[in-house]
């Protein structure tokens, strides 16, 4: 689908920001599928049980695979253990960060906070900065100039997207960012979404991360071993591919500057292992419409609202195959996007909810 063309400015303090605020796209009212209050209340109910169970499994698997790395270091047998450890550390930490940041994984607040901070460290994410950036992402999902978490901008940089699977680019961004923040410097973009009264907390958090990394390097030097770095820090490189594989699909190739998550967000059916790693965030339209529904209730929510949503992609492979030609076309026409069809049972996309001409030619 194509719309009227304007060059996108992804800075959070630039021309697109001004336009988003002026046109009412910023902090707008978004479309929600109707769900009876009693049902939604039941879906939003918190429970410690599922997240405690999953966290025990997660930590046990991390410790077991770490033990395997240490035991088999120097042999080829270390590879499968690094594969498992890397994904648990570098990818599944993203969903733990995400759910605990929303405060929905556990009922008990401190449990959310503890896992949130551990996962933030694993991801090299400043826990204060990213809490605020993610709040903005939910307020202004894929609104150009407002959303701080647009993974693939337009026109898409396909080399950059491919390199993301290696973790190199994220590593190169995340580590220097933490160093800069540790020295007390926040960027203008960061200041645009972190309230002034919280900014010093972001600096302190960055310093704590730096202390742990410095200690890890010191231990590695003292032991004359790579193992401490392979276990702390480097998994952000070799284990990040699953996070990118699942996370890119959340919004890639879909509409921007709309206020209906059905147009800019994607739900994809995934295998049980990926869903454990991803904590059910494959139900991403549902998550954005109702972010306070815990991950373990998302499959139930999906069943309740799927009549009103585009048909989910049946697999990640299907989703990537569907979006690939859209990305190629966006290289020439950055306004082009994939408009996913609604089932006959759904409420139609509402023109008045967003500025897109939804009758225009589309990639359907």
């Amino acid at each position: 689908m194509t719309t009227t063309g304007t060059k996108r400015d992804y800075s959070l303090v630039g021309e697109s920001t001004r336009l988003a605020v002026e046109t009412g796209l910023a902090s707008a009212e978004w479309y929600h599928t109707d769900v009876p209050r009693k049902v939604m209340k039941e879906l939003m109910q918190r429970s410690d049980g599922p997240a405690i169970r999953d966290t025990i499994i997660w930590i046990a698997a991390i410790l077991a695979s770490a033990a395997g790395i240490i035991w088999f270091w120097g042999t080829w047998w270390v590879v499968p253990f690094m594969l498992v450890y890397g994904v648990l550390y570098g990818s599944s930490s993203d969903s733990r960060w995400h759910e605990c940041g929303h405060g929905t994984a556990f009922r008990t607040r401190w449990m959310n906070d503890v896992v949130y901070h551990i996962a933030s460290f694993m991801l090299m994410r400043n826990p204060v900065q990213w809490r605020w950036s993610h709040a903005r992402h939910h307020t202004d999902t894929i609104i150009v100039g407002r959303d701080a978490e647009i993974a693939v901008m337009r026109p898409p940089d396909l080399i950059k997207a491919a390199l993301a699977f290696t973790g190199i680019l994220d590593f190169r961004y995340s580590l220097p960012t933490l160093v800069r923040q540790a020295f007390g410097k926040l960027s203008d973009d960061e200041k645009s979404y972190i309230p002034e009264m919280e900014q010093h907390k972001a600096v302190i958090a960055a310093r704590w991360h730096m202390v742990v990394y410095a200690a890890t390097i010191a231990v590695a030097i003292a032991l004359r071993s790579w193992i401490p770095l392979v276990l702390i820090g480097l998994p952000r490189l070799y284990g990040t591919w699953h996070m990118v594989m699942t996370g890119l699909l959340q919004h890639i190739g879909l509409a921007d500057n709309v206020t209906d998550h059905r147009l800019n967000t994607r739900t994809v059916y995934m295998n049980p292992i990926s869903r454990f790693i991803y904590w059910n965030m494959n139900y991403h339209v549902e998550h954005h419409m109702f972010p306070m529904v815990p991950y373990h209730a998302l499959p139930r929510l999906h069943e309740l609202v799927k009549h009103d949503l585009p048909e989910p992609n049946p697999s990640m492979w299907h989703a990537y195959r569907e979006v690939w030609p859209v990305l190629l076309r966006q290289l020439k026409y950055e306004d082009y996007y994939l408009k996913r069809e609604l089932p006959p049972t759904a409420k139609p996309y509402r023109g008045e909810f967003h500025k897109l001409d939804i009758t225009a030619a589309a990639a359907e």
Partner: protein, 104 residues
């Protein structure tokens, strides 16, 4: 006493729940606590314009449905990021099966 407005019937709010009440161009949230007391606050989260009546009541806490901002709805106290500003509360009384709030 001046400023008392009938917001709803006692039975309109479930135990440990919240409903929305609009009056005079303003929006309020009316709460019923787990121990059957009623409370009232402004209807919108102080972080961003989200209806608290769509949120979840847990004990003394109302959680904003959009960003997990939490307030003690009895005192209005903000309980941490992303909410930094307290919620305005209003006096409430129950008379003849009706919930009244005092809007100053």
């Amino acid at each position: 006493m001046a400023g008392w407005v009938e917001a709803c019937a006692v039975g309109d709010v479930d135990e440990e729940d919240v409903i929305r009440f609009d009056h005079g161009g303003r929006t309020f949230a009316i709460y019923r606590s787990p121990d059957n007391e009623f409370f009232a606050t402004d209807g919108f989260c102080t972080h961003e314009k989200a209806h608290l009546a769509d949120g979840l009541v847990m004990d003394d806490i109302i959680e904003c449905p959009k960003h997990n901002g939490r307030f003690n709805y009895k005192t209005g106290q903000a309980k941490g990021a992303p909410v930094c500003v307290n919620l305005k509360t209003y006096p409430v009384k129950v008379e003849a099966g009706k919930v009244l709030i005092q809007i100053g």
